[in-house]
Amino acid sequence: MKNVLEYIENTVGRVPDKTAYSDGEESMSFSEVYNCARAVGSYLLHTDAGGAPIAVLTGKHPHAIACFFGIVYAGGQYVPLDDEMPEIRIGKILDNVCPPVIICDSKTAARAEAFARDHGCRAVLCGDMFAHEIDADALARVRRRQIDTDPIYMVFTSGSTGVPKGVAACHRSVIDYIEALSSTLGFGEDTVFGNQAPLYFDACLKELYPTVKFGATAYLIPKSNFMFPVRLVEFLNEHKINTVCWVVSALTMISSTGTFDTVKPEYLKTVAFGSEVFPPSQLKIWREALPDCEFFNLYGPTECTGMSCYYRVTDELSDDEPVPIGEPFPNTDVMLLVWGEDGSARPAADGEEGELCIRGTPLTLGYYNNAEETDRAFVQNPLQTHYRELIYRTGDIARYNARGQLVFVSRRDHQIKHMGHRIELGEIEYTAAGAAGVTNVCVIYDGGDSKIVMFYTGTASKRELSSYLRGRLPRYMMPNVMISLEQMPLLPNGKRDRRHLSEIYKNSENA
């Protein structure tokens, strides 16, 4: 197998009429996904947009997924965008990618057309593309030239200099990941996924691809359901959802509000979570409510295609220890490295902390149009200097516990995980520094209370600054607390004194 499209091609004949993707109201069967994808591919080839990155600006709908596959049929890369992203952020992404086409739906059409005008490209309704005639010969010609190291998507992640970075991944990495994930978590044809991750993150690979691999079904749960825990569990039960891979905050919203006293998920067999620390007390509530369910902690950076490590929760886990990230998936290697001043490195000793570095097929192709950042993060394996072999430096610090399992400890820099989203505090600082009346700004993260805390000096009011940021940052990057200071505390070397700021915050009424 060398192409992700083989998944759907091998499945569509077996279960053509089964529901592949649904948002609870509108669904697409495997044959509809297959035919629409081939129509999109044909459309792109006929309009001279084959092989190119194509932006997809639609709601969270099965149609978007058919477009993704369609773009791959045309030999290109899909670049999913979120309709709720601020205009300026989408603009930066389009500047980087320069797609010839932005695919939209009726709800996003006006916005997509405005972007298309500004960026010299075309906005096309997905419905128009689905109606296009399928050109099987043209699609076959593309397929003959495609190889498994060709990129299929780009997803954008926070960048510390204020510009989002686009991570490009290829067929081979995705196939490798989907095979390893599916066998480890036990997915199959009877799996019914309840997808939470937005389609513009690699997190949704977990549902999108196993669905076409097995002929399973994935429900794209509408975002509004995640506000109301009882309604969310009722959605799971209504659609007999048995497998969820969610961010921790979505799971704790259910457990911390006593939802299980009212309603319990009746069909759940597999619960995977990741991206954040799962408080042991909350995990306990879940395990007690669903004693027959398997729980998995997943860990992995976008740069290594989805998830790299997993831990199956068992009774060996005590109530007060952090949930380990466990061990790497098959065909992925994880090294804990301790770096010297001169750029050399050695493996961490037993129990010693080291930087988690990843080796293997899941390594993505790096950052699109950003060789400098790519070279900084994807480096030659320092333990092996005989031939060219790249590793990805995650910036995450980890150690092995007494059972030989990997445990996440901290970050090397100012990257955080907040409500399941990966954020560079530097990106928030960089953006805020551009506001009128702001002279200095520093952002810290209160992990205990999950709050982004911004300190700034200058004449701008909190309201002015907040409305400036609202137009530029995604919702999940907005500071939860803003503190205006007369003067920014500095260390002797001129850097901002984050420790002092953290004390100011703790002593303030906001903490």
């Binding site: 506000m227 006593g258 009212t262």
Partner: protein, 75 residues
Amino acid sequence: MDTILEMLEELHEDVDFEECDSLVTDGILDSFDIVTLIGEIADEFDVRITADRITPENFNSLESIWSLVSELLDE
């Protein structure tokens, strides 16, 4: 009620919360807002809003949030 109004205005300075009665149905409040509100109400009023009360109806207006909190305070 003024405390809750302040909480809401912290979240969205550009909304007229005294008039709006479709905070959820019109998508003005999102899941971040609801989680934040539940946390702040717990801190401020020392009441726990349990899942059975976290419904669209109870969060659709300033009035309905306030009557939810009043109800919990009376219990």
